[in-house]
């Protein structure tokens, strides 16, 4: 037993190490990035062995950044197939990318434990939506564990591996931003044994051809009752007031506990009856006990009103339910101690009065000397005087060009979308259709769109901002070396004379503008690679 100060992300990673994870895979994404960073820093070192790729004994343990969440997930599946423990981690929208392997892996006979860690970002601190991964676990019919603090993040990750192996199913571990990025003292347990290589004895357990898949689907459906019963057993019911029953999930518990003392003080010293749910699909036993005891219920959960909706059903619950669907708790944005306080009917705490002067927002912006800024200067200058153009962009630091003074991009939707959107627009007549994408995002999901463009010879220009790193999430390495981009583009079928490698620097501005103009005028697929290292990445390299 050791005590360590860990963030939620780090607690998950430490638990994976202690659980004997053999293969961990990820694509960077806030707020999940630090899971892989911690694993890479620690994996293999505890045993004094290097996790060298290709080593074929039990000491082989790898933690790797991958091209995208789908490739990461599929690598994890391979690890599970050969009987070793696997983890794949991502942000919530990353699960959309990995949805195909995720949903289908629910049907195979998971062998080595597979834990899928998904970090949701309610309030969209660093994301384009606030989707709730619990519903995707439900959709795939896999169990979902949701810790309420860093200690539980550690313990649930450990038990998720065991559960995955016991029930031969992937387990989704759902965390949220404030858990992922908050630090607290965590007590760890002794490390378990690392599993050896070894396949399952069932030759059809992983072959999802229709005849076999039907059997596997039936087997998965048959497990649901067990998942629910286990979720019910793991939930915690504390009897209290008969007036109010409170259901908490995840971090909702922390915000409830922050305020419950004041509620008790206002209600003769008695606390509400409290049910905490940490696993899904939700079981019914303790919920029935709660409903039969209390006069009304308040549901406090981070994300969508998922448990709340289950409780209501279609015909309504036997007691009034308050929560996100009735407005006591805001439907959008993350929970806070303050919003939960209001939902409990407690008066707000007085703060200091607002200042007499307006406080203007200070949005994030390009770092001093950022190569993207010089690229957008060149792009804007190349488009000067042009009435018709479409500048589609993508997910990464360069999305900051949407703001003044740049206003240089017109879309930011999902990873890789800039390439496909520019292509689609160009294919129906839009002139000067441009996709602006970072190198890491291009490798993630831009490439396949470019293949489409080459196939149909769509008149579009792709601008790849090649800064050699995944900058937004803290400068993780890009999967492909910078120097390989031109050869890759040529291999995809882009004409060599229309692959232009330019320096993303103000000293090259005139040449860059001229080259961009030439390619915008070309009636076919052209790719401009704007090259210069990320400033943050350079700092990181110099530090290490």
């Amino acid at each position: 037993m050791t005590q360590m100060v860990l963030s939620g992300d780090e607690a998950v990673a430490q638990a994976a190490l202690d659980a004997g994870v053999a293969g961990a895979f990820a694509y960077p994404g806030t707020p999940s990035t630090e899971i892989m960073e911690y694993l890479q820093e620690h994996i293999g070192k505890e045993a004094g062995v290097d996790a060298a790729p290709g080593l074929r004994d039990v000491s082989t343990r790898v933690a790797q950044w991958c091209s995208n969440e789908k490739t990461a997930y599929e690598s994890a599946l391979g690890v599970s197939f050969v009987g070793r423990r696997a983890m794949v981690s991502m942000k919530h929208v990353g699960l959309n990318v990995a949805m195909d392997p995720f949903v289908n892996s629910a049907l195979v006979r998971i062998h080595g434990g597979l834990v899928v860690v998904v970090a949701d970002d309610p309030s969209m601190h660093s994301s384009q939506n606030e989707q709730d991964s619990r519903l995707l676990a439900d959709f795939a019919r896999v169990p979902c564990f949701e810790p309420s603090d860093q200690q539980e993040a550690y313990e649930m990750t450990r038990s998720a591996f065991d559960y995955s192996e016991a029930h031969e199913v992937p387990v989704l571990l759902r965390i949220t931003t404030r858990l992922a990025h908050a630090r607290a003292l965590v007590t760890t347990a002794p490390a378990g044994a690392v599993r050896n290589l070894g396949k399952t004895d069932d030759p059809y357990a992983w072959i999802l051809m229709p005849a076999m898949a039907r059997k596997r689907w039936a087997a998965l459906l048959a497990k649901q009752a067990t998942f629910k019963a286990d979720a019910d057993a793991a939930s915690r019911l504390e009897l209290g007031s008969k007036e109010l029953g409170v259901v908490t999930c995840g971090l909702g518990r922390a915000y409830y506990m922050e305020n419950v003392g004041d509620w008790a003080q206002a209600h003769g010293g008695e606390r509400p009856t409290h049910l905490h749910i940490g696993r899904y699909p939700v079981g019914v036993g303790k919920i029935e006990a709660l409903v039969s005891r209390v006069g009304r219920i308040l549901v406090i959960e981070e994300g969508y009103p998922y448990v709340e909706r289950e409780l209501r059903g279609i015909f309504g619950a036997p007691v009034p339910i308050a929560g996100k669907m009735t407005g006591e708790i805001p439907l959008a944005g993350e929970l806070s101690a303050d919003s939960v306080r209001a939902a409990l009917g407690l008066p707000p705490r007085g703060g200091v009065a607002a200042p007499a002067i307006g406080v203007p927002a200070r949005p994030p912006q390009f770092c001093q000397g950022c190569p993207h800024a010089d690229s957008f200067t060149a792009l804007k200058k190349a488009l000067e005087g042009e009435a018709e153009f479409f500048s589609a962009s993508d997910i990464g630091c360069y999305a900051l060009a949407a703001q003044p003074p740049w206003n240089a991009i017109e879309s930011c939707v999902d990873m890789g979308a800039s390439v496909g959107m520019a292509r689609g627009a160009a294919s129906v007549g839009q002139k000067r259709a441009i996709g602006v994408i970072g190198d890491s995002t291009f490798y993630h999901s831009g490439i396949t769109n470019l293949i489409d463009a080459v196939k149909y010879r769509t008149p579009m220009t792709l601008v790849i901002l090649d800064n050699g790193t995944t900058a937004m999430t803290g400068a993780q390495p890009t999967i492909g070396a910078a120097s390989t981009l031109p050869a890759l583009l040529e291999g995809l079928g882009v004409e060599k004379e229309h692959i232009r490698v330019l320096e993303a620097h103000r000293r090259a501005l005139d040449a860059d503008v001229a080259a961009i103009r030439e390619e915008l005028a070309y009636d076919g697929v052209s790719v401009i690679v704007m090259v210069r290292e990320c400033i943050e990445w350079l700092k990181k390299v110099r530090k290490s």
């Binding site: 100060v5 200091v352 007499a356 200070r362």
Partner: protein, 192 residues
Amino acid sequence: MTCDIILCGVGGQGGLSVSVVIARAAMAAGLHVKQSEVHGMSQRGGEVLAHLRISDREIFSPTIPKGMADIIFAFEPLEALRHLSWLSAERGTVVAAMAPILNIPNYPDIDSVLGEIRKIPRARLVDAEALAKQAGNVRSANLVLVGAAADLLPVPPDAIEKEIVAFFSKKGEAVVQANLMAFALGRAIPHA
């Protein structure tokens, strides 16, 4: 005993190191600690906000409820005004650096910003940059602010000094000494 601390500034100012130093000192004293940070997009030159909660009892919420902060450390003056709703009206103290970071076009007149901070009861405006220069490293301004509120922290100054040494030791002796000096210069500021 509970000490709730808001740390705010502009992305890139490095307020996180201060949070870690105070948190480690508190943990070494056997206190409960929770720290909540901001990562990702907002780190790029935008407003950043971190929470540090210290208590002798179990801490639940990772973030501080509004109106409950005992201290706001503002590494930039406009950011102090942005986060006032967290400050306890009864006991809260704002400790703010005076030098503005002018990276937005509509930054208000700096004198009116400082004037607003002076209106807050118990506010401590600190010329952290000048004292940091005096300490020998402009990047030690954050620790000047910590020194200026050392009397409000739940751990004694020597515990903070010990963690400053531990935290900055890998950056070399000069950086350690500058940060210790910055902390001392902050402590030497007389309070009203």
